[in-house]
Amino acid sequence: MSMNTNSSLPIEYQSEQSRLNILGFWIFIGAEIILFATLFAVYGVLKPRTANGPSGADIFVIKDVVVQTLLLLTSSFTAGLVIYEMRRNRLKGLILWAVITLLLGGGFLYMEINEFIHYVHSGATMQTSAFLSSLFVLLGTHGAHVTLGIGWAILLMMQLAKRKITPVTAGKVHIWALYWHFLDVIWIFIFTFVYLAGVL
């Protein structure tokens, strides 16, 4: 609400509104955790119900999933470098690492879309069985989040190019980075409980 700034804090915490926004976003992530937990629970319940269709072991290509995982985990590291550069007030470095982050995220997304196409071509669609319904919705919700995260980052870079690094724009970038790391955490759970548990 008010315009108080405190320059002894990291730049993204300097404006009062940014501090409120960051706390609000943490709480939003709490809600997102509940959302994904519900999707995981649904997946866990419906996993054995394949209705004579393919099971996870029949369709998962673990090699591709490992590449996906590496892409997304690396993008989380580069998102960390985005914040590192931001706190040093280096706009060029920030943009560079953000672009690399988005390329990695885009690569992940490209592979996930290919994976979906491969499933559909082998006759495993969302409408085949309860197991596949829950698989597609769980992966699709995460994928939609990644897509939004990429679009969001592009908007932020346009704003940064115009306004440079200020307490307000830094707060926005920080919140985006929280979101991006959160998606990574969710992916680790997907990798473990969907893919590894599906093929082992």
Binding site: M1, A31, V45, S129, A130, V137
Partner: protein, 651 residues
Amino acid sequence: MNIKWDKILLGGDPLLVGSQIAIVLTTVGIIAAITYFKKWKWLWNEWLTTVDHKKIGIMYILSAVLMFFRGGVDGLMMKAQTAVPENTFLDAQHYNEVFTTHGVIMILFMAMPMLMGIINLAMPLQIGARDVAFPQLNALSFWLFFSGAMLFNLSFVVGGSPDAGWTSYFPLAGKEFSPGIGNNYYMVALQIAGIGTLASGINFIVTILKMRTKGMTLMKMPMFTWTVLVTSLIIIIAFPIFTVALLLGMMDRLYGTHFFTVEAGGLDMLWANLFWLWGHPEVYIVVLPAFGIYSDIISTFAKKRLYGYTSMVWAVVLISVLSMLVWVHHFFTMGVGPAVNSVFSITTMLIAVPTGIKMFNWLFTMRKGRIEFTTPMLWSLAFIPTFLIGGVTGVMLAMAAADFQYHNTLFLVAHFHYTLIPGVVYAVFAALYYYWPKMFGYKLSEKIGKWHFWLFNIGFNVTFFPMFFLGLNGAVRRAYTYSAESGFSTLFLISAIGSIILAAGFAALVYNIYWSFRYAERNVGNDPWGNGRTLEWSIGSPAPHYNFATLPEVKTIDAFWYMKKEKKGLGLRKSDLKPIHMPSKSWIPVYMGAAFFVFGFMLVFEWHILSIFGGLAVLAGLVFRSFDYNSGYYVPVEEIIETEKWRGEIK
């Protein structure tokens, strides 16, 4: 599968055709009136684009009163249908639609917005804040609720209403057994309103944690604010579950997935579990703020500090924890086995403990107090014994073995009306009378208020008490008729007569609003009840848009009471006044409401290609918001002095 145009407008039924004509005429009439009085600009600037929490609260309350009327008419239609055996006023399909919309509207589009309105109005004033943490998000919450409510109400005349009960159990609610579009409305409209509620929850938590005035520790907050904090936490935990449930239900109906279907491995009871994992916390989401309202009103009009404040806080926290652990008691008959049922039986009974603590605290607050029988106090006094009946029957229902007898009978219907109406609706009425002067600067008439109270209270008991016995005699809920041989006729008729008295009570409230608007005495002062205890009574009525000219400092609980007692911290000094920073109004929230409405409408009608464009309209709103760098404006000191003139000379 696309829905054809001929499905859209429902012809044939005189009731529906009448409603369609009435809706069109009302809409045209409203638009014509606004144009004639040249109020469009005022409406846009003052209301549609506002981010002021008090105005948003008023809009919530106004919408909720309208929805109360709509849900009430649904209830009266049901009562008319069951007044006599073998009645043909409504057919089975129509009756199904009516009890479904009655439940959804009364809980999600009446109780929730009514409480959201009161929270918006009072909570920032109670903690000495100038607004909520995210004013624009607050406006977005309102417009999303409004857009969801309008979409849901549209179902009545366009395409057919949902008809699978407010719980919308699958597989009945799925495409296999309900092929029309009625239940699409349920899945989509509730999703839109739910996003708004989640945003409100986040907003209130940050507001309460970060925006309290100097000296107000958590344990010095007014009880109402405490209940809002705990309620918001429940919202954060429960609403995402409903978001997922509605998403999966929508996928089943629109895109042919198999989450809750009978075939291809779907699991119908998964819906029941997800629904009640949200649904049970939801009923505490509506009742806890109501408990907070009662706490404040009872201590105000008993002129005593709330008895057992700390235990009250812990009781609310305990209720919120337990609310997450009882969902299976809604379907003891699912056949999950005695072990699981026993666990949920015990957790359900445990709820009675903290609730009992709260009851005794209210009674002890009144003990030896000098009770003033104002309208808000009357509602609070009536709440205690009536709610007790609801609570005790709840403990009866909690016994899993006995529940096999009560399940799906009118006994259950009577039970939850005895909890929700005294628990929530009485509180809402109490709060309306209590806070009306803070909203508009004049009181509602106490005399008409007494009529409202007695008619509503007597009508409520006459309507719902017979239902306990009907249920015990075996009358099932959601049945559109019964035979004369069943012997239910007398009690059903008494219940129907009661509902007319109940409706007369509501009419008295509407008349009271009209009468007070015309004739009530203005200039009631900052503390119209004469014994306000908390900070909202320390500022003008109606509250100025910046709330507090200077932020108060709080030393104890019931801060304003002690300020008056010690005559400290009440006046203003010119030297303390500084320009006040306030958020600017914004068109984005109302645009988002409209975009979601269009998007939702396309989804409901399964126009898949078009709905992509609807989704893009929503995304466009997010982009606009991202590029919105408006950082608000300052209220100059002269304006503050002008607004605070009612205090007398400011030196």
